[in-house]
Every structure is written in C-alpha cells, then in structure tokens.
Symmetry: C2
Subunit: 332 residues, 2 copies
C-alpha cells in the first residue's frame, strides 16, 4: 500500500511504494537483455501487462493493433484506489499514496526511439499525453500530473521498448512549486511571463537558440544543468498543456523530429530524460506560467554534492552547445 | 573561468566550470580501469596532483609518507582566485565562481574503502574534514562548505582510490537553505531542535533505530529517499561540525566502523554518497540546526520524475531496513 511521507525539515515528499520492490531489478543495469520476444510492451504480449486504459491507431502503423497504448504501471508508485488518510504530528507527516502511475507505450515496434519516429507519430504521442492528463484531471483528489520519459538505463529506464510515464499526484511537488513561485513573483514584479521574456531575449540574441519553427523554439537554457540541456518552448504563451491545439502539437513534434538527430550527432547516443512542465490542475487559469519541455542528457552521475545542494556542475556553457547544434543544423 | 548561473524561476544555481571538461571522462563509466600504478592519489604519484594543502600522519600508517592528504581538485568547480563579479538583470543572474574545491585522499593504500578502515583512521579523516573547513572559513567571501564522499561509479566517483571532496561556496545552496528554513520554523514553533526531537522519538520507539553509542545514533529516517538510507546523528545538540571535540569525532568514527559492515551485509557492495550537513559559516551560533551525516546507497537511478519533482520513490520502508540491520547487528 503506497504512502507519501514528508521529509524532515523540508516541504519535500518521498513515495513509499513497497510493491515496487518486486520489479525486475536485473534490468536496471543494462537494457540489452530486454528482448523483443519477452518484452511486455510488444504487441501480442498485451496479456502480461495490466489492461489497456486507452490506445491510439495511425495510418503509419495500419497493420498493427495499435500505434500508441496507455496502461497502468504494473508496479505503481501511486494508485487511484488508495484513501488519502492524512496523518500528521509536528515532526512526521504522511498521506495515502493516492494518484495514478501510467505507462504510455509509444510504438508497437520494439527497436525504435523518438529519434527514429516521424513527426506525425510524435504528435500522436503528445496527443496521447494530453488525453491521459485530461482524463485524470477529472479526479478532484489529484493536483497535478508529471509526464516524463527515461531513455536509456543511465536515465533510469528499466525497459528498452520506447515508452513514457505519467505520475498524477495528490500534491504539487516542491520541484514544480518552486518554479511556480518564481514565475508568479516575476509576473507580479513585471506584469510579464518570465518564459515569454526568455523566449524574446533568446530569439533576439540568438546565442543560445538552436532551431525554431512557427510553433516553438529550442533553446539551450542560460543555466543549463548538464551539457546540451535543451528546452522546447511553445511560442505562444499558455500554462495549460491540455489546451494545446493539434496544430501546436504538430509543430512541436516537427521541431523535435529536427532536433533529436542534431543532438545525437553532437553528443552521440546518450541516455536522456524528457519532462513536461505545466500548471497544476487547480491553477490552469493562472497567467504567470508557460508550459514547455525540458530535455536533459545524462552525461554524468548525480553525486553527493548535487544530491545535497541541488547545485549542478556543468562543464559546457549553453552558448557553446547551442552554437555547435546550429552549425550541425546549417550543414543539413 | 568558473561561474555560477542562477536557474530561471528558481533560487537554484548551476556551476559552469568549463575546465572540468578536461577531466578523464573514460573513468566515469567504470572504476576498474584505475590501476594503482597510474593512480594520482597513491603515494609516490604526488607530483601529478596539485601541491598538498595539508597532510596527516598516523601510527597505523607509520611507514607511509602520509595517512590522509588534502589537495586542490585538479579540475576545480570553483576557485579562490575568482572575483565575485555579480551580474544580474531581472531575468538572468550570475556571479564569479569563487570558492574552493578540494580532495581529501583518505588513505595511502589504493585498494581500500571506509568499510575496511579502522575507527582510529576514520576519526583522522573526520578530523581532516574539520581542519580543512575551519581553514576555509577564514575567507569571508565563502558562506559554507559541503563535504561529501562519492563511493563507486554509480555514486559519481571518477577515481577508485578512497577519497572525499570539499566544495566551499559563496552562497548557501537551496538544498541546505530549505533545511535551515524548516529547522528555524520548527524551532520558532516549538522552542526545540527538530533533530533533537527526532533523536528522542527514534530512541524511544526504536523502530527505525539501527545502532547507537555514547556519541551518536544511526537511524533510518522516516522518509528515506532510497532503501537503507541512514542518518548518523550526534546525540548532543550542535549545529557547528567544526566545534566537534576529539571524543565526539572518535565516537562517531566507532559507530561508522560498526555500521558499514552491517550495511554492506544487508545490501551487498553498493555505490553510495555520504554527505555532511551543517550550518553555514555565518550562522554558526544559530540554535536551531543539528549537524549530522547522511548516507545514501545508490541502488537506483535518478530519473525524469525525480529530477523534475524532487520526489523520490522508495520501495523499502525505513522500519524494514532498520529491523534488518538490527537483526544483523544482534548476530555479531
């Protein structure tokens, strides 16, 4: 029975999920052992996963039973069935592990990755994210959903088949809350959205700009945590990812289709995390936040210093990374 | 020239250290290639490291030139020579990378780890930490020092030879600041130190207690981020690690000497981070904080969810981990 426990002295939480101890742990170290014939995410193996929540078809994969498929995580960190049951004294605090933990299987094909997928298919995946999030938003106990991809063992993936995950939470995690606080304060001081200002500044100076199209801009952020960290920022201001219309989703998918091969040419096949940042469900009308995607290559390890300080040490200035990616783009 | 850049929307910083790009990166993936004859931390190879800052001798290693040795990191994240040079507009902010980055080589012997070291030697290492921190405290531009150990490649170590690191910073990192804020608030509300209260509670209930002696207590914290996370808490209240007297240091070293073999018996040879948590230099007289050590085994990877939310998913309740370690201790 999962629970959330609050860390001493901090407004930060830990999910205690004893069921996850049963996960196939040997896959943690290397993904090469995950073969297609035993892969739970491959078509014809649907019976070994929990039942489908939703699936999406496409012309590109017309011969397959589905093109994208959402299922509950077999080893969920949180479950919709849990009672909230808050417990608190001044020292320790916990709540029930209410929430949702879903897997979005992003292709019927085992040996693929976002880099090999078409923009049309990437748009289908982003659309699936939107639909799953919109569905979960109906549960009033849930405050927000985190959508993320772990690509490669070093980025925390335990199965090789291309997939992303959604964790819906009964609270706003401190990582997101800190961003919201900063964005609200900036808006209060200036009357503007900080990410709109960042977009404007980066498009003007161009020094950290990678590529752009009518829908979005790919930028190496000023304070990149890792070499070649990239943010994908929709050009129009909106805090609510769920309100993104099909043309915006398609435009962002096209930008990702162009970006990933450049990225991979620059730093080689690398493990990475991709995270969607957007407003919590109960703050969707707030004007101060701007949804976006953050793409973090995992070229180093999170070590003792980073764990305790939240300070990351990055040897590659974002200007250098962006210039390199722009050069590669201009040669295509 | 290292710089600190502030992350957009956040009170969190990134150290931009281009010189660190020259580090021997092939060692990142596995430490097995680091052989004693080419190891920069072995005696007789002192010429290939920056010059010694301080060294300590001991009877145990009477035949060696030194038992513990502190040197500047060859690829420093921060340097004392840097000017502070703050630059700020409302959107982006940076300061010069002023600070110190030292390596404490913890034994002249290449093939050893804290688990094989005697309590006497561990006390010498903790004493070296204390002295290095006390020395750096003299520089008024530095606000605090983070002392940490990365053991094993998965925990971020790049060299196999047993060592720890000290990074002194011109600011208080958000990870520590959040703890200080929580501790100050608890003290304001209750008139007591939260860690003193935690100590009392854990010694009374015993359910998360691992081992203890007259100097300190080893506890699996209520909201453990990873399976078998352990905190080592000095029994007497003190926020200033530098004020620890030799008998306290010796008592803590004895506790660590007993704890590590139990820990290793329970979870096998595992990569880990050990971090010292203590007050910043300019707050040493504050009554609300209690210095301690946090020991984090690196059994999983930090993935997209953890990066973006600061929420960790842990399958092993701290009560289960503590009971297992107590059982192992009782059989010795």
């Amino acid at each position: 029975m999962p629970k959330l426990r609050k860390r001493l002295l901090l407004d930060e939480w830990v999910i205690l999920a004893p069921e996850r101890a049963d996960r196939p742990r040997h896959l943690d170290l290397s993904l090469s052992s995950a073969k297609a014939d035993t892969c739970p995410f491959c078509p014809e193996n649907e019976a070994i996963t929990p039942p489908t929540i939703a699936s999406w078809r496409s012309e590109e994969f017309a011969e397959e039973p589905w093109a994208v498929r959402a299922i509950p995580n077999k080893f969920p960190a949180l479950r919709v069935e849990e009672p909230v049951q808050p417990h608190s004294d001044r020292l320790y605090e916990s709540i029930g592990g209410v929430g949702a933990h879903e897997v979005i299987i992003e292709s019927p094909h085992h040996d693929t990755s976002w880099e090999s997928l078409s923009a049309t298919h990437l748009a289908l995946i982003l659309g699936a994210w939107r639909q799953r999030m919109t569905d979960l938003r109906g549960d009033r106990r849930l405050r927000c959903a985190m959508l993320f991809k772990n690509h490669g063992a070093r980025a925390g993936a335990t199965l090789a088949h291309v997939h992303s995950q959604l964790i819906a939470l009964p609270l706003v995690p401190s990582g997101l809350q800190a961003e919201l606080d900063g964005a609200r304060e900036y808006f209060k001081d200036t009357g503007r959205c900080a990410i709109c200002d960042m977009l404007k500044r980066e498009r003007q100076s161009g020094e950290r700009l990678v590529i752009e199209n009518d829908a979005a801009v790919a930028v190496a952020p000023y304070a990149s945590r890792t070499p070649f960290e990239i943010w994908i920022l929709p050009r129009d201001h909106h805090g609510d990812f769920m309100a993104a219309d099909p043309s915006l989703v398609a435009g962002i998918a096209e930008l990702i289709e162009k970006l990933l091969p450049l990225w991979s040419e620059a730093i080689g096949p690398v493990a990475y995390n991709l995270v969607l940042h957007c407003l919590p469900f109960d703050l969707l009308d707030e004007p101060y936040y701007h949804w976006h995607l953050e793409l973090l290559p995992r070229t180093g390890q999170v070590a003792g210093f980073e764990w305790s300080s939240n300070i990351y040490i990055n040897p590659t200035p974002s200007e250098v990374a962006a210039r390199h990616l722009r050069n590669l783009a201009s040669r295509r």
